[in-house]
């Protein structure tokens, strides 16, 4: 965790790209993906995400991994789910969340 905090602002490992559709069917895969990202200490690349469902949102929230370059759709979805602050925080400090 501490190592991550240091790596936080300048992620050396390439962010893990997330699939386009994060619906209920994708939640298992997402959990594994996120768990891997956590193990590697890498961020999540949300630039290609077009749809986020409630279950996948839970995984993203629970992981606390920073989302890199969220697409417009992701921003919309997070706003809809009332969790926009989760999206903006990583840019200022990812440490707060992962702590």
């Amino acid at each position: 965790m501490i190592a991550e905090d240091e790596a936080g602002p300048t992620l050396s490992i390439a962010p893990v790209p997330l699939p386009e559709r994060l619906d209920t069917a994708a939640v298992e895969a997402l959990k594994h993906l996120v768990a891997r990202a956590e193990a590697e200490g890498s961020a999540l690349d949300a630039s290609g995400v077009a749809y986020i469902g409630g279950l996948c949102l839970q995984v993203l929230l629970a992981s606390g991994r920073p989302l890199v370059a969220p697409s417009e759709k992701v921003r919309e979805a997070f706003a809809l789910f009332g969790v926009s602050e989760f999206l903006s925080e990583p840019s200022t400090s990812s440490s707060e969340l992962s702590a």
Partner: protein
């Protein structure tokens, strides 16, 4: 899941039909409350179902559609021609979106957006209220208005008949002053299991807020969320607190949860200082007590499910309120009850596989059938006891009993046919859309009038009629009706007219497509046929034969190949399709006046009333429906023609005299002298042409079961099918139309292989 989805699509089809029917009625000027309501319900049900399956596109569009319809329902604007036209267009988009959701072709977003904008436009023009673009606004205004001026309430209640409870609420509690509506929502795992998503609910809430011109505030409570390692992916942990603008009514907020009320905990509370009365609703709607029970020791996954139920400060209002959403939900959405809860859903879906087609039958028809079956059982018992008697009187009674059983059998047969019969309306209504689309592609203005939609035919036929009719109507729009300029130049009204009608005629169903276009340009048809090598340049053809050339494979006169028709396939396919149903196509065309295409189809494909006759030593069956009369001819009424054939004059009408055995090549032509006192049947085909058939003997009248001869052997001229008689022998059923047609030289009814000289 897929099975349930399949059921949803089936329901969509029904709702779309309902919608089409309602909108047609509206466009015909029937703007009764019930019609408008039916239209509204149809769209609403589609929206509700789509929301459960997370079909975002469909939900969004049907939502806008529904709002505009609500404007109509609440009388904010009248169903003018333009408004109905917009609705029709929106219906087409909606039905395409349904198709897209089903895995069909994607809908062009531009089209959706266009229709979307149009709907929004008509909705905003009619708004009298401040920012009253939407239905919800109207509804919201009412409770507020109501309190100070109770009299205002009455007429409005009538307007919203299906949801009377909404306003009971208003009577029993003080009308909430402009206080925000607080919604708490926690999805159960089941909500996700059935394919829905919390997201859809939030979208729904955001939409109703937006309609009212207000902002929605959503906060997410993720305090129950475990760390990632402990998180079970398909468990639901989150709870949302939503604040809706004050203009949003409880009722409209409730509708968002209509389809998920069993799969989530939600509460809708008017945020007001004194009446913090939660409108609790749980999975078990019927037993609100359980809500409390569940709320007290929250199960693991529902830890933050509900805000602690506030002490019921005002117990009586709670009592009064509780039935409201339930009743409203039931009243408003009869369709929603058809969405099975997930537990039983699997079982039901298994019982209704998509490939198992089902039909809807009026209950009284089933009752009739049941009555008849009851009588059959009695008749059978009677026969059984009579057959044990040996005296002569018993024998006599037995014969009587058997004949009464015969009529019973016939009645049962009719009853079964009635169960299978369906009005052609379903197909005909679909044609409205075909014409609309074809019109917009060709830039023509054409009205399609339907006649005889209630005509009933066997359901197998109904289904198979769609494709041929679609093609014929596209063709009528594309080639039949001239362009607006040409019509005006020809002194016709600018608006083209097509009549699609169905009627029963002599035991068959006759479907006609009549346009008031330019008629068939025979010279062009002839030239094209020559160019395509279908006929030799020196062929001499009658007008009728030229008309029928358009049904030849590979024929197309369209100078430019359009999207609609004129791909060179089609008309011959139409002909094949109709022929495979045992039908025939007739054309009559008057240059400058229009063209009439007629499809004549058998009503049923199974049983037929026939007359048993003998000719050339074999027993054959003639469908009784085509026999006009029977008589014995006099030599003096027969006139010989130069080609060796004879005509007979019957009460001044001349018709060809056909020796049946000769026509079927069972014997040589009889000499004219031998015709005296022979028995003839005057028969008629569906286009009204008559001929006299000479037979050896008329034996009996009977019902026969049709067995296809083509599938068992091959097509034979003059024979439509075969049957098995009571004595076990096989008998041929004559194709009267073909016989008449060949006698009067009607090209259409001849199988195409009999004129090889034409098929180059």
């Amino acid at each position: 899941m897929d099975d349930i989805l399949q059921i949803f699509f089936q329901e969509c089809d029904e709702q779309l039909q309902e919608l089409e029917r309602g909108l047609s009625a509206l466009s015909d000027g029937e703007s009764e409350h019930e019609t408008v309501n039916a239209v509204f319900r149809a769209v609403h049900s589609i929206k509700g179902g789509a929301a459960s399956f997370g079909l975002d596109n469909l939900v969004r569009f049907s939502h806008v559609f529904e709002n505009s319809l609500d404007g109509l329902r609440s009388g904010r604007f009248a169903p003018t021609h333009d408004v109905v036209k917009t609705f029709l267009k929106a219906m087409d988009v909606l039905s395409d979106l349904v198709n897209e959701a089903r895995g069909g072709a994607a809908v062009d977003p531009a089209r959706v957006a266009e229709s979307h904008a149009e709907l929004a436009a008509i909705n905003s023009t009619g708004g009298d209220h401040d920012g009253g673009a939407s239905a919800a606004t109207t509804e919201d205004v009412i409770p507020v208005d109501f309190s100070p001026v109770p009299i205002d309430f009455e007429p409005v209640a009538a307007d919203f008949e299906p949801i009377p409870f909404d306003f009971d609420f208003g009577e029993e509690t003080p009308a909430p002053a402009a206080a925000a509506l607080r919604v708490t929502f926690h999805p159960h795992d089941a909500l996700y299991e059935r394919g829905d998503d919390a997201r859809n609910i939030l979208i729904g809430l955001a939409d109703i807020a937006r309609e009212c011109g207000g902002e929605i505030q959503i906060t997410c409570d993720w305090s129950a969320l475990p760390p990632l390692a402990d998180l079970v992916p398909d468990k639901s942990y989150l709870t949302w607190h939503i604040v809706l603008p004050p203009e949003v009514s409880e009722e409209s907020a409730n509708t968002v949860f209509d389809w998920v009320s069993e799969d989530c905990d939600f509460s809708i509370v008017r945020e007001s200082a004194e009446d913090e009365v939660p409108l609790e609703q749980d999975g078990e709607q019927a037993e609100p007590a359980e809500t409390e029970a569940a709320g007290a020791p929250p199960p693991e996954e529902e830890r933050t499910a509900e805000p602690p139920a506030p002490e019921p400060a005002l117990p009586p209002p709670v009592e009064a309120l509780l039935p409201m959403p339930v009743a409203a939900a039931l009243d408003l959405h009869p369709g929603s009850t058809t969405t099975p809860p997930p537990a039983t859903g699997a079982a039901q879906a298994a019982a209704r596989k998509p490939e198992q087609a089902s039909i809807r039958v009026d209950l009284h028809r089933i009752d009739d059938l049941m009555d008849l079956v009851g009588e059959l059982v009695i008749a059978q018992a009677a026969i059984e006891s009579l057959s044990r008697r040996t005296d002569a009187a018993g024998q006599h009674e037995l014969v009587q009993s058997i004949s009464s059983m015969q009529s019973l059998t016939r009645d049962i047969q009719d009853a079964v046919m009635a169960v299978r019969a369906q009005p052609v309306r379903a197909v005909f209504q679909r044609m409205q859309r075909v014409v609309r689309e074809a019109c917009s592609m060709t830039g023509k203005d054409i009205v399609l009038t339907l006649e005889g939609e209630d005509t009933e035919v066997d359901r197998t036929l109904v289904e198979k009629l769609t494709d041929p009719l679609t093609h014929m109507l596209r063709n009528a729009v594309d080639h039949g009706i001239e362009s607006t300029e040409a019509r005006i130049a020809a002194g016709k009204p600018a608006e083209g007219h097509i009549v699609l009608s169905a009627e029963h005629r002599s035991g068959r169903i006759l479907i006609t497509i009549k346009d008031d276009g330019a008629g068939i340009n025979r010279q062009r048809v002839f030239d094209t046929a020559v160019k395509r090598g279908i006929i030799p340049p020196n062929a001499v053809l009658s007008d009728d034969e030229i008309n029928n050339l358009i049904f030849m494979p590979g024929f197309s006169t369209a100078a430019t190949i359009s999207n609609l028709s004129g791909r060179g396939v089609g008309m011959d396919v139409v002909k094949q399709a109709i022929q495979s149903l045992g039908g025939r196509i007739t054309i009559s065309s008057t240059p400058g006046k229009g063209t009439i295409f007629g499809f004549s189809l058998p009503l049923t494909l199974a049983i037929l009333d026939g007359m048993l006759i003998a000719a050339g030593g074999s027993t054959m069956v003639i469908p009784i429906s085509s026999v006009i009369e029977t008589m014995i001819v006099k030599q003096s009424d027969i006139y010989a023609l130069p080609d060796g054939s004879n005509v007979i004059s019957i009460r001044g009408d001349c018709m060809p005299l056909i020796p049946l055995a000769t026509a079927l090549k069972l014997s040589d032509a009889p000499s004219r002298d031998s015709l005296d006192a022979s028995i003839i049947l005057v028969v008629e085909n569906e286009s009204g042409a008559r001929a006299a058939l000479i037979v050896d003997e008329i034996r009996d009248q009977t019902q026969v079961v049709i067995k296809s001869i083509e599938s068992n052997y091959r097509q034979i001229f003059g024979v439509s099918a075969a049957t098995i008689l009571g004595d076990g022998s096989v008998s041929l059923i004559l194709d009267v139309s073909a016989l008449v047609a060949s006698a009067i030289g009607h090209i259409d009814s001849k199988p195409s292989n009999t004129r090889p000289e034409l098929a180059a």
